[in-house]
């Protein structure tokens, strides 16, 4: 029983991390129809900057336990980086999607060296800070409280995003713009501001995600390109553009990975691709995606 629960928790934790990366992707695609290859880069940026922020905070005299709010704030602040990047992407909005994708690929290339320039080649980590909130016991299993907080944060973000998109006026405008850009513009929506805010929100989701996860992991230079693959698996399974799809897709990938690791370790990565193919054969648009020509 212990091992089953352990596997489950491990899978859910990984899913939480994936969701944070995928949520930004889905939001930006849903409204702007842009697939952002640089989603992993934002995530890595959030991770590295989070570590620096905690370093400054500690040096500035803040007590250790404040590292979580420091991380969240650093992630939010860094999201500002989305604004100039969106401005850059704006130059190709009217073009074919291929060019938008390519521009995000250019960003990936640039970010790799930006990260290295500012933070160097050594992987960075936050020591054992993730343990400073102690452990929590769930039945037979004990895990760091911090991990539980990350999972809760993920859920909280999912719920607030959902609420934002479904219940607020802003969210409804966003969804309308996603459905039909011209119509929304005709009805008075300021599409330009919407795009800027959506992209920035997507960026923030990435940077906050990276900052939140870094205490349990590390920041390393290969993160930007590695993360993209899993994030894409999540959105393909869940359906491009769907928040629900991001959540479910992340759970599917996280739990499949955990199950594979526990029962047939060799299969780990291949199992996820297998699921991707199965989902695509059965439901071409992903579980929650809209069918496209």
């Amino acid at each position: 029983m212990t091992s089953f629960f352990d596997v489950l928790i491990g899978g859910v934790f990984h899913a939480s991390v994936l969701f944070l990366v995928a949520a930004g992707l889905q939001l930006v695609f849903g409204v702007q129809r842009i697939v952002n290859l640089a989603c992993g880069s934002f995530y890595a940026l959030g991770a590295y900057f989070g570590i620096s922020a905690v370093g400054w905070a500690t040096a500035g005299g803040l007590p250790t336990w404040t590292f979580l709010p420091v991380l969240i704030v650093s992630g939010l602040v860094l999201g500002v980086v989305g604004l100039p990047i969106e401005r850059l992407l704006r130059t190709v909005y009217k073009r074919d999607e291929a060019f938008q994708l390519l521009l995000t690929f250019a960003l990936v290339l640039m970010f790799q060296d930006v990260l290295r320039f500012f933070w160097g080649a050594n992987p960075k980590q936050l020591g054992n800070l993730s343990m400073s909130y102690g452990k929590v016991a769930l039945g037979d299993v004990s895990l760091p409280t911090y991990n539980v907080l990350v999972m809760l944060a993920s859920v909280a973000i999912a719920v607030s995003l959902g609420w934002f998109l479904q219940r607020t006026r802003h969210g409804r405008i966003l969804r309308a713009t996603a459905e039909n850009r011209e119509m929304a513009a005709a009805l008075g929506a300021d599409v330009r501001r919407i795009y800027a805010s959506v992209f920035t929100l997507g960026t923030v989701l990435g940077t906050v995600g990276g900052a939140l996860v870094v205490p349990t992991a590390a920041a390393s230079l290969d993160m930007p390109v590695e993360l993209v693959v899993e994030a894409f698996a999540v959105v393909v399974i869940g359906g491009l553009g769907s928040m629900r799809g991001a959540l479910v897709g992340a759970l599917v990938v996280g739990l499949t990975r955990a199950a594979a690791i526990s029962f047939y370790a060799e299969l780990e990565v291949l199992a996820i691709y297998l699921i991707v193919i199965v989902v695509l054969v059965a439901r071409p648009a992903g579980l929650f995606g809209k069918p496209v020509e």
Binding site: V92, L101, L102, Q112, E293
Partner: protein, 323 residues
């Protein structure tokens, strides 16, 4: 009047071919060795652009076929003892077409961005496969590609570098010319016109009786063949087939090269392959932050010069002619 551009084109092509043939005689050995991957990429991109420029499908997993080409060369020369370069190139292409079939069947149902993401996933699937089944594929260390024979001759007396910048260079150049000519015919055939129609307006094409999926599939298969031929050329040049050939950023480089040269032109990708190889090599020698500058180059092309170098060239030509 109509023949004039055609004749100009022919003369232009002839000049380029002669220049390439003369290159090893005038340039340093190092720069000549750089032209070899350019040949490989040029061929791979001819196929890639059939899919992208002509059919409108952006594949972000095309490196998959380049890798298949290199690994086919490794298996043929290393494990099966087949040394004939001509056989290697042909078999590599066929293997790629066979591998492309299930991928294509799944992927051509999608368009645009979905196609890009799917192909990225398939490319990475192959990358993982190469790592995991290390007994078959050599895992992260890859597989050796032995020196092939060219038209039966093994050139044993030449060391590898002399072989590469000598007879191998010329055979690859010939291969490029032949495959480019074949692609030219494909693109200007009714098949090619159908592809263009599908790119412009798939629904209309479907309505007019064009079997959209079938044509896309065929284009995909042809592009896979070309990709693998390019990969085989690369494999012989490096002497090793390794999994990083299939990584998605390598696919990204293929797209980069095509757009750099100009995807809307037949010769664009060829120009892009050569330019990119030399650009990357010079950047790598000049600065340790070459990825950044490559990224900036790509961004500038995408934003300001979407039709690439060929677009710039043809604009300049038009201006010159108008005067």
């Amino acid at each position: 009047m109509k023949d004039a551009p055609g004749r100009v084109l022919l003369v232009g092509v002839a000049i380029v071919v002669v220049a390439l043939a003369a290159f090893p005689k005038v340039a340093s050995p190092y720069y000549t060795t750089l032209v070899l991957p350019a040949f490989g990429y040029a061929i791979a991109l001819l196929g890639f652009n059939l899919l992208f420029g002509f059919t409108g499908l952006l594949s972000f997993g095309h490196a998959l076929f380049v890798a298949i080409g290199a690994y086919s060369a490794a298996v043929l020369t290393g494990k099966l003892g087949v040394k004939s370069f001509e056989a290697i190139v042909l078999v590599a292409g066929i293997v790629a077409v066979i591998a492309a079939l299930p991928v294509a069947l799944l992927a051509v149902r999608y368009v645009r961005i979905f196609f890009g993401i799917l192909t990225l996933a398939f490319g990475m699937l192959f990358h993982s496969f190469l790592f995991k089944f290390y007994n078959l594929t050599g895992g992260d260390t890859g597989m050796r590609v032995l020196r092939p024979t060219l038209f039966g001759t093994d050139f044993k007396e030449l060391d590898k570098t002399t072989f590469l910048i000598g007879p191998y260079y010329y055979e690859c150049l010939a291969l490029l010319v032949v495959l480019a000519f074949a692609m030219w015919r494909i693109v200007h055939s009714p098949f090619g016109l159908h592809l263009a129609a599908i790119r412009e307006n798939p629904r209309k094409a479907e309505y007019l009786g064009v079997r959209v999926h079938r044509f896309r599939l065929l284009a995909f298969l042809i592009s896979a063949f070309y990709g693998a031929v390019g990969g085989a050329i690369l494999g012989v040049n490096i002497g090793q087939a390794d999994p990083e050939l299939a990584y998605w950023t390598h696919s990204g480089e293929l797209v980069f090269m095509t757009v750099l040269g100009g995807f809307a032109s037949f010769f664009g990708p060829l120009l892009g392959a050569f330019t990119f190889i030399f650009l990357k090599s010079e950047l790598m020698g000049a600065t340790e932050y070459w990825r950044f500058f490559l990224g900036v180059t790509l961004a500038v092309i995408v934003i300001a010069f979407p039709r690439g170098l060929m677009g710039l060239a043809s604009d300049a030509w038009t201006k010159a002619v108008r005067r």
